[in-house]
Amino acid sequence: MLPLQKSTSTPCWLGIRLPHLALDLLTRGQARNGLPIAVSESIKRRELIIDCNPAALSVGVKAGMPATAALGLVDTLQVVERDTGAEQRALQRLAAWCYQYSNQVSIPADRNGLFLEAGASERLFGRPQTLGNRLGRELGQLGYHAMTGSAATPEAAWLAAYEGLHICSAGHIRQQIGPLPLGRLQLDAAQQLALERMGFRQVRDLLRLPRKALTRRFGPTVADYLDRVLGIQADPRALYQPPETFASRMDLPAEITTSQALLFPLKRLVEELCGVLRGGDTAAQSLQIVLGHEDHEDTLLELGLQSPTQAQARLMTVLRERLERLRLPRPVREIRLEAPQLLQFSAGQHSLFMDTTAEQQQGIEQLVERLQARLGREAVTGITGVEDHRPEYSWRPRTLDEQADCTALAHRPSWLLPKPKRCTIEDYEILAGPERIESGWWDGRDCRRDYFIVRDTHGSTLWAFHEYKPRRGWYLHGIFA
């Protein structure tokens, strides 16, 4: 008998650590690391710096120093208090973003990072190491500092992420994490301190202890944790489910004064959105962008597309046009981007050589979006006929998804003047006519006219009428161009 082919690959978890998440949320709107920014947290009723950007580091700001001391070092330093709620929301967004690479994404409750199962998608995205590097790079483009590592269990992957290790077969976990310092383990501070006092320095020192001895000293928690690291005990994780809507928000500690400078942070937000769209196999057709100002009403930008998309370039083209026309009433302090509805996405097929109708449609939709973003919605329309005998009421603008409906009158002129223009008929030579048009008694725009095709002295062929009602006289109404 042939051996059964393995239908499922061995699980391999990627641990994604976001050690600077609090800071990243403040700095990712900045194109350059110009302003010194630090994050503080109140620990035991003292406001302490927990992280800062290179600009702040270079003037001597360090994690652990009191906020007041840091402010004393440099007066341009912006100290922002840590917002754990914002961090949680960011993790939710990033989980949705990661969903494009795996359908098993999990958000750990006790730390800033994500777990992602990479074994099942190996054929699509390559080995865990390849995917890990890619995630690190792409998250970097979104403005997040990420470190990745992989192992057969989530907890071991987390430890591996500190060192950029990729341990994929379960047997090696013990060996690979052994040399790590004890501080890397997810233990609480009291346990950590107790272990250090006992003379343990490395993870391997702890792994040598029999389970019984560990349980006696620390209760079952430490032993259970180590079992989960090694894969002796199962570690089921609550899996993340992609959302129905998308909302993100970016604070700008260094306020933005020109609409062009908004492009950089917006690009990051749109990039994040597009990752989420790819993840959920969804698409967005409209976006709402709210620009928050200090002491001023928010500026609202609404972007509407002709068809749902998940293409970043397409959204950015439309956005760029809108920004070009935008006047900021005040500097921008925050940006919120929302896609109120995520729609089912169906990728259009592209042909290489043929210009198919579907492609034509896509091309025109994107053109209309660009034009409307800059010129306004009503500036770009189609045209259709209206059942009315009076030529000036026989047309109206049409939206592009509407059917055009019209009677065919080839003997009429191709162009109508926006308004009939009074004329002296003696200046013209009559070529054909009359065609009587009488109508409108029911809506008070009663009229009776005889239309003639006429020619002026330059040889232009025009459409003129003699009106009996409501006013008598000769008018020009069209051009046979």
Binding site: T357, R374, T381, E429, E435, G459
Partner: protein, 243 residues
């Protein structure tokens, strides 16, 4: 170098002939739908991916109806016709009457010269087929050049309707035609410039009513008389007027 006068004459008057060292004989074209005009144009039609200028002293000389066969074809192939800031309102019943599919017609209104040119450039640069029509009042050589470049990157046919003062200005357009009222023979089309060959003799395109004789001006004081069609009146569909 002495030139054979017959050969050089043939070369300069026959667009279908070209000399090997001339690179642009491979100009892709779209038939105009007028046999006599096609015969005068290099490649036998409107140049694709290039600007065509239609210069007309006054509107109403047949400059737009000249395009009906082309535009109708384009619309029937599901391609788009984009009109940027037409100075008047396109009459749907008439366009439809000439076979143009209104579903494929896009109108852009900008109310500003600068925006109008921008829209034109956008319309030209996206997509690989279709037509773009614009009516720029004034347009600099550099702007025209930008439009021409935008057109070159697409496979569209682009028509610019231009006033008479455009005659004196240099233009990077691939084809420039001047339209004149030509009396009984219809519309006279002078080829001012065509890339790939030297300007050729004018073409004549018949115009409806070109041969109509002057009629007495109807007396507006006697409306009853007007309802009697004069000789040579166009045939009207029965449904056009209600009494």
């Amino acid at each position: 170098m002495p030139q054979n006068s017959t050969i050089s004459k043939l070369l300069s008057t026959t667009p279908q002939l070209w000399q090997g060292h001339r690179a642009n004989h491979a100009q892709r074209t779209l038939p105009t739908g007028h046999v006599r005009l096609d015969a005068r144009l290099p490649g036998g039609g409107w140049p694709l991916g290039a600007i065509t200028e239609l210069i007309c002293a006054k509107p109403g000389l047949g400059e737009f109806s000249l395009l009906f066969p082309t535009l109708t074809n384009i619309s029937k192939q599901g391609q788009w016709i984009i009109m940027i800031d037409p100075p008047w309102i396109p009459y749907p019943a008439s366009l439809h009457g000439h076979g143009l599919l209104l579903e494929q017609l896009l109108l852009v209104r900008t109310h500003q010269e600068k925006e109008s040119l921008w829209a034109c450039e956008q319309a030209l640069s996206g997509g690989r087929s279709g037509a773009v029509l614009a009516w720029p009042e004034r347009i600099s050589f550099t702007r025209l050049r930008r439009l021409q470049l935008a057109a070159e990157n697409s496979g569209k046919v682009a028509f610019l309707f231009r006033p008479e003062n455009a005659l004196d200005a240099a233009s990077p357009a691939a084809l420039r035609l001047q339209l004149e009222a030509g009396g009984q023979r219809g519309t006279r089309i002078n080829v001012l410039k065509c890339r790939g060959s030297r300007p050729v003799e004018p073409a004549w395109i018949p115009r409806p009513y070109a041969q109509a004789h002057t009629r007495p001006i109807p007396n507006p004081q006697a409306p009853g008389a007007l309802t009697q069609p004069v000789a040579g009146t166009i045939q009207l569909p029965a449904s056009t007027a209600i009494n």
